[in-house]
């Protein structure tokens, strides 16, 4: 399989590492957050939808340009609909914390 890195072009899948669902966002973590924040982190770290179809997921082009990527991939056909760079790949200036 080849994956279209937005920087490097189509590359052998062996250059990439899969991480998982790109939907969860790291919650804000105030120091006195207590149980509510713990609950949010529990969801962020452990809870995942088991989707049959297209999902947004993180891939890392570690065998190439070391960019983190967000891919739309079908879990049933392995088709990649899109592959985009993570917001902080390269030197892009991002004013706000977290994902775009």
């Amino acid at each position: 399989m080849r994956i279209a890195c937005p920087f490097c072009g189509a590359r052998d899948s062996g250059e990439f590492t899969y991480l998982g669902d790109a939907s969860p966002k790291r919650p804000a973590a105030p120091l006195d957050g207590g149980a509510a924040v713990e609950e949010q982190f529990y969801d962020y770290v452990y809870l995942r939808d088991n989707v049959a179809g297209f999902t947004r997921e993180y891939w890392y082009h570690g065998g190439g340009c070391r960019s983190w990527l967000i891919a739309e991939r079908s879990t049933t056909t392995h088709e990649f609909k899109s592959v985009a760079a993570a917001p902080g790949a390269g030197a892009a200036k991002t004013a706000q914390a977290g994902e775009r």
Binding site: F7, C8, G9, R11, D12, G14, E15, G62, G63, G64, C65, R66, S67, A85, A89, G90, A91, A92, K93, T94
Partner: protein, 211 residues
Amino acid sequence: MPDFLWNSQSPLEKAVIAGRHGAGKGTPGVSLSHVGDIALVQVMARRGRNADVAKAAKKLFGTETPAMLKVANGKSATLIWSGPDQFLAFSQQPRSAPSLEQMEEAFAGTASLSNQSDGRCLIRISGPSANDALAKLTSLDLHDSVFPVGAAATTSIDHTAVNFWREADDAGANPAYAMLVFTSFADTLWHLIVDSSLEYGVEVAAIGAGH
């Protein structure tokens, strides 16, 4: 106390055995060479400072920063695209290239530098069968229409990251490539490249005697 000798040593000093190896006697299918004591600095733009990096590069090297998947030939160094908003400044003649200190000054506040002069090892491969040998090593499509002279890629060989680019064709109009491999992997990758080339006949240049 005696003064100490600080002889530099190539990671390939044991691996490189100059001369003809493998099949055949005529024109070798593959030519291999290694040059040590290079200068190599990774230049990574700081957030939002791409334009400034390009300006500084132009001033220092007389060339724009390399376009995506390309190399740019500067007056004292070759700039090799190595990822988004970053490149490697490579020189085979460290004395004529800007020093690390000069580079730090030129890119101060606009780019982060990482000295890789000892972190990577330069290997060159060319010849009429270079593409056949490389087909065993890289998943890149090296066809002229896809990977012309001046093309660059960061990719993996034997699960090991390499910076790979195509140089001007050799004297026999055969394709010629250069790659920078991690120093600790140089010995193992060299053997892999030689093994992959044996069936075409391979001419190995003495260290430093490459093109």
